[in-house]
Symmetry: C2
């Protein structure tokens, strides 16, 4: 297989005091990470920052400069602690403005519910100047795109709707494929095997994830590659190596 | 109440390809965050980085310089992808060495299990030169402390044992207290109330966390402060404000 011409990378900034206080368990890192894998984009770094303008600006400006894409989650609701749009406007050096299309979406949403677009709700129609919207057919609330930055909600089900709208629209490389081999073995017993197998196939990376269950020690070995032939050959080498050590490899993991 | 003389801050670096690929859902951010709250230390930033030396070095050196404490999780096992000790040694500009006490702990551990300390397992006794150990009475495996950096395991149950050993040993400020008020209300309807309440009590921060359940819109409002009197007064203002709007506030949240 010809090597990929390039690797596409992304970063994620999770914005919210509630994650840093331990009150809310983040679900967006795993959700965005898994979605990016399918798009052929590699998630290279995640930062969790507080609802704090300088912290958001620093993270956004550092990470958008060194990745193809930057995603943010959190802080785009109607209340005083929702400062993401203002902070990202500051990061880009543009004003935050009411986006006419977002305003229309919200007006229709509240009118259809016998309610109205109050000043607080109108905050949700604000975007950095020059931004476009990420439609969301599931919950109505749009996300925001400016340059290579994608601003999404913090509530995981709403984030999911925005990711759905973006599926297939971003340029990515070959998707990363993976194979998992589980085994009832201490990972320290097979450290040499894993290192040798990774060395033998340049396109492959092997992660070793130990666990304890049923009173025994086990591990899953996850092999990742963009090359299907390398992946199969490397998985075979690991499986045969485990068998040679008197262990029983389990395809697809334990 | 007299204001605190200072605020103690911490950062966390979560190290591991498995988090960035979406394969493993991180549990250490919430665990470390909740533990720090009790120690009176504020978690200010989290970064998730790959098993990649330059990425670890950058995150560790940036965050240890600007926080009182830095914690890391992941990458201290026996396999080739466990590079945290080497990377943090590089960050400090010291060699990685076998720590005699860690070696003794591992020797006893494996000998008592009719096994032996292989070369791969000896990797787990390595620390940056000059480091001390974080004992772990639950699973044996020690963590590592060098300067203000605390190197912990990635497996959450082992991380828990290391945090337990550190409980009460780190200097912190007054613990952050919180009160939660739940209400079946759209957060946009009470945005003014929340902003006014936060302004009225300088020591308080209010987070607004919307949800949808039972076919209705609700939100929890979390008030945080180091001052118990402010906290109570601010919570009362929010509760009375909700009642004045014809809503029913629910103590301790929905």
């Amino acid at each position: 297989m010809a090597p990929r011409t390039r690797i596409f990378t992304a970063a994620l900034v999770v914005i919210g005091d509630e994650i840093l206080s331990g009150r809310t368990h983040d679900k967006n890192i795993a959700q965005v990470a898994a979605w990016l894998q399918v798009q052929g984009i590699r998630l290279r770094e995640v930062r969790v920052v507080a609802d704090d303008t300088p912290a958001i600006v620093e993270a956004v400006n550092t990470l958008r400069a060194r990745n193809d894409y930057l995603f943010t989650t959190g802080g785009i609701g109607p209340t005083h602690d929702d400062i993401t749009v203002d902070a990202i406007s500051e990061a880009f050096g543009v004003p935050a403005v009411v986006h006419p299309e977002a305003r229309a979406i919200l007006e229709e949403y509240y009118t259809s519910r016998d309610s109205e677009l109050t000043e607080a709700r109108l905050r949700m129609a604000r975007t950095p100047e020059g931004a476009s919207l990420i439609p969301n057919r599931y919950t109505g609330a749009p996300g925001i795109r400016i340059d290579n930055v994608f601003i999404m909600a913090g509530v995981p089900s709403i984030t999911a709707g925005m990711l759905d709208a973006l599926t297939g629209t971003l340029e990515g490389g070959d998707p990363v494929l993976s194979a998992t081999i589980g085994c009832w073995v201490g990972e320290s017993e097979v450290a040499d095997l894993l290192r040798d197998a990774e060395k033998a196939f340049e396109s492959c990376q092997i992660g070793s994830y130990p666990f304890w269950a049923e009173g025994r020690t086990g591990a899953n070995f996850v092999i990742r590659s963009v090359d299907p032939a390398d992946l199969t050959a490397c998985a075979t080498m690991v499986s045969e190596g485990l068998t040679a050590l008197g262990k029983e490899p389990v395809s697809d993991g334990i």
